[in-house]
Symmetry: C2
Subunit: 334 residues, 2 copies
Amino acid sequence: MKNLPVLGLMLGDMTGIGPEISARLLAAGTMKADARIAVIGDARVLALGCEDAGVELAWRKYAKLSDIDWARDEVPVIDLGNIDPAAIKRGEISPESGRLTGDTLKHMIDLALAGELDGICFAPLNKAALHRGGWKYHDEHQMFAALTQHAGFFGEMNVIKEFATFRVTSHVALREAVNMISPERITSAVRLADATLRANGVARPRIAVAALNPHSGEGGLFGDEEIRIIRPTVKKLQAEGMNCTGPISSDVIFLKALKGEYDGVVMMYHDQGQIATKLLGFNKGVTVTAGLKTVFATPAHGTAFDIVGQGKADTGALEQALRIASRMAAARPH
Amino acid sequence: MKNLPVLGLMLGDMTGIGPEISARLLAAGTMKADARIAVIGDARVLALGCEDAGVELAWRKYAKLSDIDWARDEVPVIDLGNIDPAAIKRGEISPESGRLTGDTLKHMIDLALAGELDGICFAPLNKAALHRGGWKYHDEHQMFAALTQHAGFFGEMNVIKEFATFRVTSHVALREAVNMISPERITSAVRLADATLRANGVARPRIAVAALNPHSGEGGLFGDEEIRIIRPTVKKLQAEGMNCTGPISSDVIFLKALKGEYDGVVMMYHDQGQIATKLLGFNKGVTVTAGLKTVFATPAHGTAFDIVGQGKADTGALEQALRIASRMAAARPH
């Protein structure tokens, strides 16, 4: 147990299903063999989650992480006392809740940077609330990169049962994405995929690199990025020992990945991966911010405002996110 | 019966499963209520298909379509006598077979232009064979447009059980596709979708128009084509009475279409649609060349070289292609 990584669990945006799925999962206790999990947030929000989920959860407050007695059975809670659930309406976007959600995440990142947390797992955020609450980043990954003072390549990893996806470009205009395709970015994305999959326990990750153009450019007829950029980069990486292949047409690559041919798929642009993964039941998947000093993992699904407080939200993706965060945190020196 | 459209059935590239699925479907006779179907091609290839499929098919040769006695039970065959199956190896690409496949299609198009055929349905072609055989078009749709001397917008319609897709751009580089997005092309594609779906029996087609950029451009943050081009064009079309909506993010539009919210989805670029439809079991679907004088329909699947001659290829998509061709041909004046 002493060697298990210490994960901070953030209850998500309290307007959503985060508190109730967190409470239910903690009460089930299924993650105890994987990690030492401490809730970081407001104890009143956790109490609300227990009530919604209809579970009895034994927890114990601590002032700081180093005080926690991990031999005890109760779930340790670092009570920030910052979010009063009585003051915020649930089931809809709340800029105030978004602001406080960001505050909590910032607090957790500081703990991680101080070496007190090995990884951060968070129940669903609401991106619009976060943005309106004053955390002005394109997405939470850029927020985490900024708050961890990260320089260099990083990116979103989307994990489903069959495979994981990585992106060469992400939240930029498609026109700009096409211009950003370069040997450097592809190399960074493939290396990130390789390192992240290894940290997830895949010994020698099989990585497929997507084409940019229809039919992989049909031999140069419909675009030459495959010939000029993607293929030479894949060959160079292969020569360096990377277990990668490509370019592969984007309407074929997922059929092959589904058959189990690859562990990771490197996409050229956002929608290439998102169209596929959303159709493949991505809601059950996990999103990881890959490449930062700190491990970040979260369910791919959102705050599910339509079912908030009904205690029926599924905990599967959150459990999987905690499992991935545990594995990745354990793979790091700590 | 006299009012049923006259369809020409082409047996596909003879190196593939076309002859056997055609023979099996004709022997089943299930399409007799929908159309008057004549096989146009080489009778020896049809005989081969019957042998592969293990079916007894009563057919009768005619010199020309106007000679056919539609009251008779036998399947009418216009025997072109141009393809000797003994001279061509099956299960692999044959430029010679591709050349002859193109000849047969050209012959059928001439019959259609002369008013003798109301529509053309073809079993799977092999695009590479067609190209190597001297039919130098980017795809068969461009070939059909050229051979029917079509000027103006036309395009591929991909039909699955739940919905049909149309494209604003198709076989061009992604960089070029982005530059080609214009009010004119979007308008043409939506109008084509509307007209084609009406010809398929949908009274007031519900058409969704995809966004170009991730998250529909996130309010201009990741690209402004949605604001500058797509949204104003959709509004203008709505004002003209078109039942269309959009732009809708491409990772959401298919989830909604699957739920039955739209009859047609208009994509901005090739892979946007192909990633989704291939994952949705598109192999069972049908491809239509929409917008030409002549109706063209074919199964979405290919020549399936790996199972040629085994008589186990599924006839479902070909039957569906014949059904769609019948419906569209019946909707035209003839």
